[in-house]
């Protein structure tokens, strides 16, 4: 429940839309949703309308109220998330926030005068990774895999299913202990320690923990065979990634990128690939509204493709 009482009907109807991908709320602008690759204007009753004039226009007060409800009326408890510009809701839905930032010592301290929000709906497609699994195993052991895609192509959804399949076992390998470092609470979609998405019977989750710290904690405490992290990026991630590899862990990770060659140029990947850290690359893309998945080996040879 994140909408104010006046927009309760809108919230109820939006929840029922199948294939809902995004809800865009911008101050004094019409509510726009994206579902099944198409864009729709939404009125106060939550119905799709053809023209923007008929759509409901979100006020600054609405945005403030939504933020308060998202933070369960305890904004102090979401201080860190607000600083990073997003809040993760129950179910793993990510709400990005934009507004005027307050800077302290060169870093964002808070965001005020909210100007917009973007609700990204987390989807779950059980079994989505099954067709590509034979290419992600060697001798019944999972291979370290990097998932690459631009935002909104389903990296986290695929990662979630891969974790489930590896944890529970599948026709290509027995179940393994999987440690998940869920920095943004998106993979598990956790709420008060309870995950909304099933990540398998052998999965341990370190929730809302910085990746670099979480990976080391997991290795020390939970002895995982496979370590899964979302959205690699920083210098500190590189160090933790190396440590995990030296410990003999298989890595499942995601990274933003348009294509494989684009990602292989990134410093963090360039460094770890010197030691062939990742043996498989899954590239997700969207072409003309259709999703495309490709699996590559470290020499960029295409192993599997689905359009």
């Amino acid at each position: 429940m994140m909408f104010p009482p006046a927009l309760k009907l809108m919230a109820t109807r939006l929840c029922r839309i199948t294939g809902l991908e995004e809800i865009r709320l911008r101050r004094d602008k019409p509510v726009i949703i994206f579902a099944k690759g198409k864009e729709y204007y939404i009125n106060q009753e939550g119905e799709a309308v053809g023209e923007s004039e008929k759509a409901y226009r979100i006020t600054g007060q609405d945005l403030e109220m939504i933020l308060s409800l998202l933070c369960r009326q305890s904004i102090y408890a979401y201080e860190e998330e607000i600083k990073r510009g997003f809040i993760t809701m129950k179910g793993g839905h990510r709400v990005g926030i934009a507004g005027q930032t307050i800077i302290e010592n060169g870093r964002v301290k808070h965001i005020r005068y909210l100007s917009g929000m973007n609700v990204r709906i987390a989807n779950s497609f059980p079994g989505i990774s099954l067709p590509m699994l034979p290419f992600l195993y060697y001798d019944k052991e999972p291979l370290s895999t990097l998932l690459i895609s631009p935002p909104g192509c389903g990296k986290t959804t695929l990662l979630r299913d891969l974790i489930y399949q590896i944890s529970n076992g599948n026709p290509w390998g027995e179940g393994k202990n999987v440690g998940v470092v869920d920095e943004r609470s998106e993979i598990q979609g956790g709420n008060m320690g309870v995950g909304c998405h099933d990540l398998g019977n052998r999965t341990d989750v370190m929730d809302r923990c910085p990746k670099s710290e979480g990976m080391m904690l997991m290795i020390r405490s939970m002895n995982p065979r496979v370590l899964a992290v979302d959205e690699l990026g920083g210098e500190e991630d590189l160090q933790a990634l190396r440590q995990a590899l030296y410990c003999g862990c298989v890595i499942l990770a995601t990274i933003h990128g348009a294509n494989l060659s684009d990602v292989l140029r990134k410093k963090i990947i360039l460094e770890v690939q010197k030691e062939q850290a990742f043996q498989r690359f899954i590239v997700l893309s969207k072409q003309n509204g259709r999703f495309c998945t490709r699996v590559y080996d470290p020499w960029q040879k295409l192993l599997w493709e689905k359009k």
Binding site: M1, P5, E64, S68, L69, C71, R72, Q73, S74, I75, Y76, A77, E79, I82, H110, M192
Partner: protein, 162 residues
């Protein structure tokens, strides 16, 4: 019988002050635990209420769970918190002034800083301590008077009856 009844009445009035003091102390304890949940675990107000309701076998248990459930429905914290404490007060020997500090900390919404949130609770705790000090003094001053008055009334009644 009359003497015993009057003395008993005096003791009951005396006891009410003692119970009132104990209830304000419980309220203070609740706020301190709430503050700890907030500062140590970064818990939301709802989460803190739910955790305390399950941890503590006190009069607040179910009430705190009700607050959590109301917040999950999207209700505002201050009215729910105020109504709950008011309901609890009516079932006890407390006056409106006794619970006021505990109620008012919730009146400031959109606290974006954890230090401020913890500070507001600390302020309420201090006000409750002052309230406890007042009740204690009153208990010591009036307590003996109630028992003595009860005894005297009973004694007078016996004399009148004789």
């Amino acid at each position: 019988m009359l003497l015993l009844g009057c003395v008993g009445f005096g003791y009951t009035e005396n006891l009410k002050w003692k119970i009132r003091l104990e209830q304000v102390r419980k309220l203070k304890e609740l706020l301190m635990l709430l503050q700890n949940e907030i500062t140590y675990k970064y818990a939301t107000l709802g989460e803190a209420c739910l955790f305390l309701s399950s941890q503590r076998n006190t009069a607040f248990g179910d009430l705190l769970k009700e607050i959590y459930l109301a917040l999950e429905e999207g209700k505002e914290f201050y009215p729910v918190w105020k109504a709950t404490l008011e309901e609890w007060r009516k079932e006890n020997y407390l006056m409106a002034e006794d619970i006021r500090p505990a109620v008012e900390f919730a009146n400031i919404s959109t606290v974006s800083d954890i230090k401020l949130q913890a500070g507001l609770i600390e302020l309420s705790v201090k006000e409750l301590e002052e309230r406890m000090e007042y009740i204690k003094k009153e208990y010591e001053r009036k307590g003996k008077t109630y028992v003595s008055l009860g005894f005297l009334t009973g004694f007078m009644g016996i004399i009148l009856l004789l």
